[in-house]
Assembly symmetry: C2
Homo-oligomer: 191 residues x 2
C-alpha cells in the first residue's frame, strides 16, 4: 500500500484546490514507543498509514485482558472499521517509535476516496484482499491448529516476528505463550 | 443490500450495450435445500445475492468438522473473498430452497463495479460496515463470552434464529451445542 500523500501526485487532472484541501488534511506525525493513538471509547476515527515503525490494535475483555486484533508495520494501514459515530472498541498504540500519515475517516470517505474513484486509482481487488485476510483469520480462529495459525502469522507478517514480544504473538494467535513455545519448538525440530 | 439487477435500472446514462452485456451475466437461479453452490477446492468464484431462502458458508477442518463462516438470508450477499485464482476454501450450500442472483466475480470487478463507480452508486461506508462486521466477529471469537457472542448473533441475524438447527448456531459461535443451551437457559431466566 502507498501513503495517502503519494496518491495525490498522480491526480494530474484534479483541480489544485481539491488537492490542496486534501493535503491540509493529511498529517504526518511522530509517536514515541508506547504512545496511544486511539483510546477505547474515543470518538475520533483516523486512518493511519505507517511510514516507519510499528503499530498494533487490540481489544480489552471484561477482565482487562488484551487481545491483539492486528499489527501494522511499514506500508500497512490501520484503522477501526466500526460505525464512525460509535465509541471506539479498539486501542491503537505504538510498539516502536513510529511515523504515520493520518487522515480523518470522514475526510477520507468524503474527499479522498471520491477523488481516487474519479481518477480510476481505486482497485477493487485490493479490497477483496483485505477482506480475504479477515476471512482467513476468522476461519483460523474457528478451526485451525496452533501450528497452522503460527504459519499463517509468519506469512502475513514476515518482518515483525523479531520485533514484538512472544506474548503479543500468542495474544494475536489466541493461544497461550506456553502453547506458542511448544509450536516453535516442534517447528524447529521438523526443519 | 439490493440485487444486482436492481442497480442496473438506475444507470440511465450507461450505454445500452454496457447494460445488456451485464444483464447477460447476471443469472437468476433456484437451488433446492441441500444443494451445494460452491465446492471446497473449486475454482469458480461467484457472488450470490439471496432473493429468497437461506444460504450458509462453512470451512472444514482436518478432522472433517464444519465451522460456519456466515449465513445469508433475503437481502444478503455471500461470496468467498480469497484470491480469485486459488482453490476455494469455503463450501456454500442451501439450507432452504433458495433463489439467488449470481454473477461471476471477475465480471463483477471488471464490468459491474466500474459502472457503479462511474454512476456514483458506490457507497464506501457500506464497505466499512461489511469490514466492521468481520472485525467484530474476530474480536468476539478472541475475547467474548458465549452469551455476548449469542447476543451479537441475534443482532446480526434477527430473522434466521428459528430457521436453522441449534447445532449450526453453536458452530457459528464456536461453542458446543451444550454451551448454547446453557446460554439460552440463562438468558430466558434473566428476562
Amino acid at each position: 500500500m502507498k501513503p495517502f500523500s503519494d496518491m495525490l501526485s498522480h491526480f494530474s487532472e484534479a483541480t489544485t484546490s481539491e488537492i490542496e484541501l486534501l493535503k491540509q488534511n493529511i498529517y504526518v506525525k511522530k509517536f514515541k514507543k508506547g504512545a496511544i493513538l486511539q483510546h477505547k471509547g474515543g470518538l475520533n476515527t483516523y486512518l493511519y498509514f505507517v511510514n516507519q515503525g510499528l503499530l498494533r490494535s487490540y481489544s480489552l475483555d471484561l477482565k482487562g485482558k488484551e487481545h491483539i486484533f492486528m499489527f501494522a508495520s511499514e506500508g500497512w494501514m490501520i484503522t477501526e472499521a466500526s460505525d464512525i459515530n460509535f465509541p471506539k472498541e479498539l486501542v491503537i498504540d505504538a510498539l516502536e517509535d513510529t511515523e504515520v500519515e493520518m487522515i480523518d475517516r470522514k475526510i477520507f470517505v468524503e474527499l479522498y476516496l471520491p477523488l481516487t474513484l474519479k481518477h480510476n486509482k481505486f482497485n477493487p481487488e485490493s479490497l477483496f484482499k483485505r477482506i480475504s485476510v479477515m476471512q482467513k483469520r476468522i476461519i483460523m480462529l474457528m478451526s485451525a491448529s496452533a501450528i497452522e495459525r503460527f504459519e499463517h502469522f509468519i506469512e502475513t507478517y514476515p518482518n515483525i516476528i523479531q520485533r514484538v514480544p512472544q506474548k503479543m504473538i500468542a495474544s494475536y494467535l489466541g493461544i497461550t505463550p506456553e502453547a506458542l513455545s511448544k509450536v516453535k519448538g516442534d517447528r524447529a525440530k521438523n526443519k
